[in-house]
Structures are given as C-alpha cells and as structure tokens.
Subunit: 402 residues, 2 copies
Amino acid sequence: MKTLKEQFDILSDGAVDLLPQEDFIRKLERSIATGTPLRAKLGLDPSRPDIHIGHAVVLNKLRQFQDLGHTVVLIIGDFTAMIGDPTGKSKTRPALTLDETRENGKTYVEQAAKILDMSRTEVVYNSQWLDSMSFREVITLSAKYTVAQLLERDDFTKRYRSGEPISVHEFLYPLSQAYDSVAVRSDVELGGTDQKFNLLVGREIMKAYGQEPQCILTMPILEGTDGVEKMSKSLDNYIALTDSAKDMFGKTMSIPDSLIARYYRYACFAGGEDVARMESELAAGTLHPRTAKVQVSGSLVDRYHGEGAGKEALDEFERVFVKKDIPDVIEETVLDGTSLDIVTILTTTSMAQSKSEARRLIQQGGVSIDGTKITDPAALIDLQAPVILRVGKLRFLRISGR
Amino acid sequence: MKTLKEQFDILSDGAVDLLPQEDFIRKLERSIATGTPLRAKLGLDPSRPDIHIGHAVVLNKLRQFQDLGHTVVLIIGDFTAMIGDPTGKSKTRPALTLDETRENGKTYVEQAAKILDMSRTEVVYNSQWLDSMSFREVITLSAKYTVAQLLERDDFTKRYRSGEPISVHEFLYPLSQAYDSVAVRSDVELGGTDQKFNLLVGREIMKAYGQEPQCILTMPILEGTDGVEKMSKSLDNYIALTDSAKDMFGKTMSIPDSLIARYYRYACFAGGEDVARMESELAAGTLHPRTAKVQVSGSLVDRYHGEGAGKEALDEFERVFVKKDIPDVIEETVLDGTSLDIVTILTTTSMAQSKSEARRLIQQGGVSIDGTKITDPAALIDLQAPVILRVGKLRFLRISGR
C-alpha cells in the first residue's frame, strides 16, 4: 500500500482545491491505519448522459482514488431530473421519467467504466432517499443553511443583483445535493471548480447532521476544442468519450496551440513532469506544436480506443489531410441538414454555379469528400461530423450540417 | 339577505386593506347570485393559544362575515408548531407535541367561540395536508415564488440588510401558509396589517395552482393598554378574552385617553358613526375622557361577560377606586412572587420601615388592599393581578407580582 505522502501527492496532483487539507490528510491517515477505504463522491446529472473528456478530468481523479484502494460513490441525481424545471421556464430541463433516468444512468455508467474501476464503484440514485423525504424533513434540512449563505453563490449573487428571478426551489437543490453527502457518508466530494460552492455546502450540512464533514476536491474545467469556452455539448466544442478514433484524433488536432499542454495534462492525464517538459520544449521551440498535438491526440485515442489506435488514427488523418496537400486553414460553412446530396452541397456552397456544373465536376472526377473521390452525382453525404470537400486541386471547404 | 352594497359596506368597514377590491365585489356578487357562502380564512398559531382583544379585532370581522351567511375557516397551524424552531436558536418556539397542538387548538376555539358563530365555522389543522407533502411537492410549491419576492417582506429585508441570518426554512413557512389557502380554497384571508405580505403570497400561490386567488382583508393592530406597543401577552399590556369582568374593566380604564375611540371601535366594535360622535365630543370637550372610558370599559365587559356585567364591574371599580378618594396617579411597583404576605409587602415596598411597624399599622386598621381592610398580619395577598395597597389616608401603591 502506498504511504500517506505518496497517496497525498497523487491525489492532490492537478487539483485546484483540496479543502481542508489537514482534514484530508487525517482521513487518509486513518484510512491507511484502519484499512478502511475513503468514500469519494461524485454527483451526476442524468439529464445529460453523454460524457466528454471535460467530465473525464474528474473521473480520472476518481480512478486515482480507486487505484489507491478507495471507493467511488457515483450519485445519479435522478430526483431533481425527474422534477425537471417546475417553473416551466427552462426548455432545457424537461422532466425525465423514471425509465429515462435509469436508461441515462446506465449510459453514463457504461461510459464512466472506460475510466473507472467498476469493482470499486458504488452507483446509487438519490431519489432513493430524497423521494421519501417529508416536508418536515425538508424544513429540518433547510433550517441548517441561510439565505445569505446561498446568495453568496456566484450565479445567485449575479442574478439577485441584476433582478433576474431566483425561484425558491433553486435554493433547495444545493441543499439536497448536500444531503446526498449525508446519505452516502461521503469522505470527499469531487467536482469541477464551478462546483466548489455546492461541495462546501455539503460539508456544512454533514456537520449539521452530526457527521464528520467531507473534504472537497475540485479539478479544473477543461476548455473546449475552440480554446475559449468550457467544453460542452451545446457549444459543439466537445470530444465525447464515445467519439470514433478518427473524430477524437481530428478534434484534438484542431485545438489551439495554447491548449496543447493543458489537454496533455487533463485529457491524457500525463504526469506533471512530462507536461512540464512538453511545455518547456514548446516554449523553447524545440518541439513543434503540430508534433506535440499529434502526440496528445494519439495518446488520447490510445486511452479510449486501446493501445495502437492512436497510430492508426494518425495514419488516416495524414492520408486525408496531410498527404493530399490540404492547406492549414480551410474555410468552414454550416449547411441545413445532416445528410445532403453532393450536387446540393456543391451549389449551396457556390463551389459550383449550377446543378449542371456540379454534375460535370463530379463526372470529371474533380470532387472529393474527406479524400474519397465522389463519382455518383446522387451520392448522399453524411454531415453529422464535419467533412472536407475538395473541388479540383485547390478549392477546399470544411462543411458540417445541422 | 343583505344586498351587495350592504355586505360590502359592513365587511370593508374598519379594514385597512381589502385587496383587490373589484375581485372582492365580484366574489360577493357571485355568492349572492348562487347562494354560495364565501370561505373566509384565518390562520392561527397554536403555540400561543391565549386570545386577547387584539386578536379579537380580526375575529369580530369574521363574525360579520358569518352574520352575512358566509363560512369561516380557522386553520390551526399545527404543522409548523410541531416542528418548532429547527435551528434551536429561538427559545420561544419549542416544538409542540400532537397532543399539545390539539389541546391548544381546542383552547383557542373555545375562546374564539365567544365571538364566532361556531355553526358557521370550520376548524382544520394544516398538518392534515402539509405533513403528507413530499419533497417533490415542496419543490413544486417553492418554484412558484422567488427569493427576491420573499426578501421584500419587511422583516426579511431588515434582517438580510443587517446581516442577521435568515434560515432557508423560514422561506418555506410563508409558502406553506399560502398553500393552506389552496388546501381550503379560500375566498378571502384575514389578518392583522402585519400579515399583509403573507396573505398576498397566498394569493399568488393560489393562482399558480390554477385556483381563483383569494382576496385579502387586513385589520389594524390594536395597541396594548400602555398605548404604545402592539398588544401582546409578553409585554403584559393585554386584555385577555378570559379576563375577569373586574380585570377587563380595570385594564380598560387604564388606557391613555388617546386610545379611547380606537378601543371603542376595534375592541367594542362600535359602529363608525358612534365612534365618530365620541371622537368629536371628546375633541370638543363635551365628553369627559373618564366618562368615555367608563362607557368603553362597560361595553367591553358586557360583550364578553354578558349584558349588565359592565355595570357591575363599574360599581365595583367605583367602590374601590373612586369612592375611596384614590388619586388619579398611583406609583407602581413590581415584586418578586405572585403571592406574598402583607408584612413582607409593606416592608419590601418601604411603606413600613420594619416588620413591627408593619404589624402595628395592620393592627391599627390602616392597611387595605383594593379597598378591603387587612386585619390579619399573616394574610397572603394574591399578586397575579395588580392590586392597590393603601396605607393610612394618603399613601397608595399599585403592586403586581412576577
């Protein structure tokens, strides 16, 4: 078994907050002394079952807990998901049925299994304890926290100040998440830095229920492939754990240079030393950003598609993009429809001035999609993932559908 | 049956707020047209079962509803009373048991029966619907109101601004009171002016539950016999409905002149014209304040102790206070103990310099309590209600015990 110091170094590595540090050390100490695994909690929203590599940052940290012998408790937040948005204002929060939450929970767990050791993972649904909570118990719970404390949460502060309505039930959500920690007797709760406030509420509520309070461990929020926004499905700047090797490789190759080392660390989970070396080599100019990106992309694909898959993805990538002399910068356009015929694509994008010109170009063998020549003017092109359209030797367009 | 205008005039008479007036008129109209009584709601706190004439202001208004054929719904708020103060901070809110709330509810109703027509009164306990409310239903309820709206309530605003903690559960109390209106399908909720905010919440919550919203009717808060503070048991400036005729008369005689007309209106429920006449006669000096006070005191005693009881109380009052040449202003003192022997009283108050002087004064027949000569030096004096101690011809002291 690893020593206290070894465990602490591994678990704190890459974390933004680990609070209170002395309590965490005490918990580790006791865990080692008594041979009792720590219970590391993560709450999940089953209304968004797709996991991307942004979520994986925290999951990987949980895996490190497991590799040290600790237990992970995944809490599927089906209770609030089944309620949805009771104000009816948010169209993005439809109420899920029990079947849907179970289905999404299963989907989530299947994806998480790519990272976690499921033999050391407990999966629980919080409706198990929240659904049977009475009004009286809700009052007892909510008596343990104050309005002013909740209004200190960044988003609440902003909304309150700007006069945007905060429904009272929104105050009950962080409290019920906090109560989850009581229900599973969490030792440490993990989350992105945006969860820090909620995790700390859990700490206070555990104390108020007479339990030893959990510690909190936050991990950075990974930027999306655009390098600007937080990675998220709705912004379409994400890399899903279920993305094909090709997509995963291609998307990673598209990140800005400034993110390379960060992805190496938080998407590939490279060790701190390796990351530092890459950073200094990039800074010194002894490592070309493109080479570093190939390394990061390959490492990511290897992780999720098996050793060697990264190399294969690289080969395909080079066949399509590099060997065909595709320029570094390609104009992009978005078309309506996720499956369109090639003639429509050519005319809509003005790569051909008319349908007849489009057909002629195809017949002459001058049109290709992702490096594959298109010969049938009726060919349907799948635009669910972006493709590179090439017309003649020199005209390129990156096309995606919606 | 009274006409719409007659009903409206009676019910709005003396009210501070009757909102929205046009809705109330519509409700009255429909009630008359369909022969369906309105449901007039009053919420009661069973942790304070003693009713004083301050509470009676609203009860009398409810009686007017009943006299017009409408139904009164008394809601005993046992749900929150049984929870008490879950923060444990307030020592004035101990959690009541089910038996205690039932007992207090019964006590309250017995007293209210002095004013209300119990054949037109429904008595319900709100634990009936609140106790079975699930967390999910609480979320649905609390989604219907915003944090900012609740923070507009005067006391919340003040506490929030001054940094005094407001526990989250305190936000749930006005919402549960509001839900009571949904549960009993209230047409109009009554309360003191200090309840205006809560009553309006009820209106909004009924709308949110798809019901026709209640109207609200507030009555003034009656000042206590000190003429300064709101009447309340804890300030000992109250006249209980269960006070003896003698106490009721005496306490009313002790109010400041400025309150005479107000008590005539809101304690004796004299008609607006009678009150106006008294006010103008007092102002013109054609009615002596003491005469007016005798009239108000007698009328109040008649109301709660039966016709003629006022006259009897007046006679006793005059026998004790007036005929014995008691001065208008008597010094007051409060002693420790609610039953003390006369010698102790005399020495403690320095009316006698020593126990032997006290005994001598008693033997000489120079000591009386409330006009009755004390001859036994061992006599125990009941100090639960204030008494007038007289020593010799000229020395008076008003004494109460605690």
